[in-house]
């Protein structure tokens, strides 16, 4: 054992320099926003006053409570959903998979709005219940609303990762457990769940970091965590230093969350098995319909409600003219930028993920953890940081598609990183060495052995980036080429002035493109 550990440690020493250099480059790019944040914070003359202010501490408490509850809820939702759609004979599995991934693509300002419209006072649900004599629902505002909304929009982070890992997990372990006399439920708890731990942890990490940096939904639902406080400093006081100071606890929280995730990783296992086979389908029996109802309920909350509200906008609106003209361009722009971001994030996180999976060590671990910066800092801070760096050090890049894609990559790299790292960990490293000893050079080995095997994970990561980049707003507004309208900016522009009907078509288009992206990924999954 000691030798095995020593071998693992030694791997870093032999991690090729170019790999280290690439990972360092990626990390440096990703660390630009936190560096900017700290630098701006030092301009403040009242750092401690801001940090120790009662309102800051209260907001920190709320942030902790919300993050913990949302993360736990997302795990509780996502794991059974992934299992039901991935490994059982649930009716309409693929349909549910697509639907259940979609909440991720609902912009959070729309998600918050939808929750208020549906569950708020005088909303759809109350209207439906009114005949039953219900004239007031429990208030959606505050913790409960923020908790439900964030859980419903962010559980797909875990769902998609677990789903991808199920498609590559080794069924023989499970069969062995069954053979040892464990029932299906015990097998699930004792074998499948521990096997799913890495993707669950990777997804939960994204959910937790997303929860601390989320603005749109929490502000709509009036739950003042730290991030709305940061926005408040920006948008009312224009005090960029004070905003940065309030961002510091977010960095500290992110470090804490990363540390917790590191502890759950434990002694990371290697790959699942020598010869992965397609997994067996579990028969649900009498659990079939409860499982079906569970999927339906979550899909209803996550997709059904937004679509219902959007359709309501569409049919109830009177001023629908003038929408379609710029819709096509916005759809193309959105798809292009999000697809490029997905590709760029997947490529950029490869050296970091590879280093972390194959040359584990302190430096590799630092590179990996640092790469999560983008997910934990409010989007507006990332946008302003990159606006600043581009304007100061790279003026030719200002307002280019390249810079926008770069910013998306910085923001969403962690989403691809977890998925790709997980895929590399599950890949049998001996197959790479076997290829080398059969005469294949590093490139051929990567192209023909590593990449095809890691592909489901890469696609899952790219899908996450695509779904979240396509809805991104503050970064899009502040960094996109001028005149580069996207669906998200169209939706925001319309809803911010109550042009709900005009918001309807871009919203539906956004969801359709996202659904299409999920379908493409599922197709790849079946092929590999």
């Amino acid at each position: 054992m000691a030798l095995a550990l020593a071998q693992a440690r030694d791997r870093l020493n032999r991690a090729p320099l170019i790999l280290l250099a690439l990972a360092a480059l990626v990390t440096a790019a990703v660390l630009m926003p936190p560096v900017y944040l700290v630098w701006r914070a030092t301009e403040s003359s009242a750092i401690w006053e801001h940090l120790s202010d009662e309102s800051t501490l209260r907001a920190l408490g709320r942030t902790l409570l919300l993050t913990a509850s949302v993360t736990a809820t997302c795990i509780a939702l996502a794991v059974p959903l992934a299992w039901l759609t991935g490994r059982t004979d649930l009716p309409l599995r693929r349909f549910w998979t697509v639907l259940l991934a979609l909440p991720l693509a609902v912009p959070s300002f729309v998600g918050g709005f939808v929750m208020v419209s549906a569950l708020g006072p005088g909303g759809l649900v109350q209207d439906l219940l009114a005949p039953l004599g219900v004239d007031r629902l429990p208030s959606i505002f505050g913790f409960w609303g923020a908790w439900i909304t964030l859980s419903v929009v962010s559980y797909p982070y875990i769902f998609l990762q677990v789903r991808a890992s199920l498609s590559r997990s080794d069924p023989s372990l499970e069969e062995a457990a069954r053979g040892l006399g464990n029932g299906s439920w015990r097998t699930f708890w004792r074998v499948n769940l521990p096997q799913m731990r890495p993707p669950i942890a990777a997804g939960a990490l994204l959910v937790a970091l997303y929860s601390i940096s989320e603005f749109g939904a929490v502000s709509m639902l009036r739950y003042d965590t730290l991030t709305p406080l940061v926005y408040l400093q920006y948008t009312t006081s224009f005090d960029r230093a004070a905003a940065a100071v309030l961002g510091l606890p977010l960095i500290a929280l992110a470090v804490l969350i990363l540390g917790l995730e590191g502890m759950t990783r434990g002694r990371a296992h290697y790959y699942g098995g020598a010869q992965p086979r397609p997994a067996r389908t579990m028969e649900l029996g009498s659990w079939r319909w409860p499982g079906f109802a569970f999927c339906a309920l979550v899909a209803l909350l996550g997709v059904g409600l937004p679509v219902a509200v959007i359709l309501y906008w569409l049919v109830s609106g009177l001023s629908a003219e003038g929408t379609t003209s710029f819709l096509a361009a916005a759809a193309v722009n959105s798809t292009l930028a999000a697809a490029l971001a997905a590709l760029a994030a997947a490529i950029a996180c490869l050296p970091v993920a590879y280093l972390s999976a194959r040359h584990a060590g302190r430096l590799a671990s630092f590179f990996e953890k640092a790469s999560y910066a983008g997910q934990s800092i409010p989007a507006i801070t990332i946008a302003l940081a990159l606006v600043f760096f581009a304007a100061t050090y790279a003026t030719p890049l200002q307002r280019t598609l390249g810079l926008l894609v770069f910013a998306y990559t910085v923001r969403f790299l962690p989403e691809a990183l977890g998925a790709i790292r997980g895929a590399l960990l599950q890949l049998n490293p001996n197959t790479e060495e076997a290829a080398r000893s059969l005469g294949a050079g590093p490139l051929k080995t990567f192209a023909r052995i590593t990449a095809p095997q890691a592909l489901p994970g890469v696609f899952a990561g790219m899908l996450l980036v695509f779904l979240t980049a396509i809805k991104e707003l503050p970064i899009t507004i502040l960094l996109s080429p001028i005149g580069f309208d996207t669906l998200a900016t169209e939706i925001w522009s319309a809803t911010s002035e109550a042009f709900f009907t005009r918001a309807a078509l871009p919203s539906l288009t956004l969801l359709l493109i996202s659904a299409f992206a999920v379908l493409i990924m599922l197709r790849r999954e079946r092929l590999t």
Binding site: A15, I18, L19, L22, R58, V116, G120, P121, G122, G123, M220, P228, L232, T235, T236, S237, F238, R240, G317, L318, L340, A344, I347, A348, L350, Y354, H359, L384, V387, A391, T395, L397, Q398, R399, T400, G402, V405, T409, R436, P442, L443, T445, F446, A447, I449, T450, A451, I477, L478, P481, I482, G483, T489, E490, S493, A494, S496, E497, A498, F499
Partner: protein
């Protein structure tokens, strides 16, 4: 020993670098406008300007405050020539950073001195007034207090909605401080807070809440209602109520335009502002955005209280641009977190 992926990664990063370097948008000589106003509201007007003058433009639409923050970060390399926004706090921040340049007096002279910066750094384009929006089922407008100061009465406990973060409320607090004194403002905010007002993230959410009966009244800008009436029809259960003449609640705010110190297309920028102040454009604001035109001789929307009848509190709008003291006060009194 070489592990597999490096060379591949290196090669794969190259297209990324290529995208970054080739998608170059710099060196544009079009007039660049940062428009902190809804694209749905002003795009037709801006396109008309381009068509009429032959000046090609590129417009960045976004939130007024976000765009101002962007300009501050971009520094002298900002591509923006014109900042066209609706947030006086943003103007204050840009002014404090020395980012606004003086406008020609001919442009400034087109509007009443009350609607422009005394140092000539910005000029008002269109106006909006602070009003009470009320639920038509829950409230009889005859019973509404005609002064904002009376909404802290016990009768309004739990019935009052505000949007403390943006779009006029901090400006109102500043006006309150200027007109009634710091202590009065503090006490009023404390009373307001004690009355358990509901704080909304934005005007749209607030007006929707009024129509849904979540709150009975909300303190907002006047023109959002018209958007809802267009969108939802006359059945929409909210209407505007105007404060009594001279009441501090009836603050009159403007959307304004300014030219940045770093502007490269100054001449075109001036022509653009001139266009916004033209009869044609001012008429557009009247007809399409339900705002008040600011250039004399253009009549306001007949659905609005006529400009001549409004007697806003006598406040120099440029005094409103520094909101920091008001925000501190709002925080201390619990209105803001």
């Amino acid at each position: 020993m070489r592990r597999t992926s490096l060379l591949a990664s290196a090669l794969a990063l190259m297209p990324l670098a290529a995208v970054l370097l080739t998608a170059c948008g710099g060196g544009d000589d079009r007039l660049t406008i940062y428009a902190g106003r809804s694209k749905n509201l002003v795009q037709p007007l801006l396109e008309q300007f381009s068509e009429d003058t032959g000046i090609s433009i590129r417009v960045l639409y976004g939130d007024s405050t976000d765009l101002a923050l962007g300009i501050l970060e971009e520094g002298q390399n900002s591509p923006a020539d014109v900042y066209y926004g609706q947030d006086v706090g943003a103007l204050g921040a840009l002014k404090a950073a020395g980012r606004l340049s003086e406008l020609p007096s001919a442009l400034l002279a087109k509007v009443d001195p009350a609607f422009r910066s005394p140092d000539g750094l910005w000029v008002g384009i269109s106006g909006r007034q602070r009003v009470i929006v009320y639920n038509t089922d829950a409230v009889d407008p005859a019973e509404l207090p005609s002064s904002i100061l009376d909404y802290t009465a016990p009768a309004w406990e739990g019935r009052f909605g505000i949007v403390p973060r943006s779009d006029g409320f901090p400006e109102f607090v500043t006006a309150l401080r200027l007109l009634k004194g710091e202590e009065f403002a503090r006490r009023w905010l404390e009373d307001l807070d004690a009355n358990d007002p509901t704080a909304y993230a934005n005007n749209i959410a607030a007006i929707q809440a009024v129509a849904n009966g979540e709150v009975d009244v909300a303190f907002l800008n006047h023109y959002y209602l018209f958007r809802f009436l267009e969108e939802r029809g006359e059945d929409f259960k909210a209407r505007n109520y105007y404060f009594a003449a001279g009441d501090v609640g009836g603050l009159f705010l403007v959307a304004s335009a300014s030219i940045l110190d770093s502007a490269r297309q100054r001449e075109d920028a001036e022509r653009f502002i001139e266009y916004l102040l033209s009869a044609e454009a001012q008429q557009y604001f009247t007809d399409e955005t339900h705002e008040y035109p600011l250039v004399p001789g253009i009549a306001a929307d007949p659905g609005l209280q006529p400009l001549s009848q409004i007697d806003p509190p006598q406040i120099d709008l440029s005094d409103l641009t520094d909101l920091r003291g008001s925000l501190d006060l709002m925080r201390q009194t619990g209105i803001l977190p």
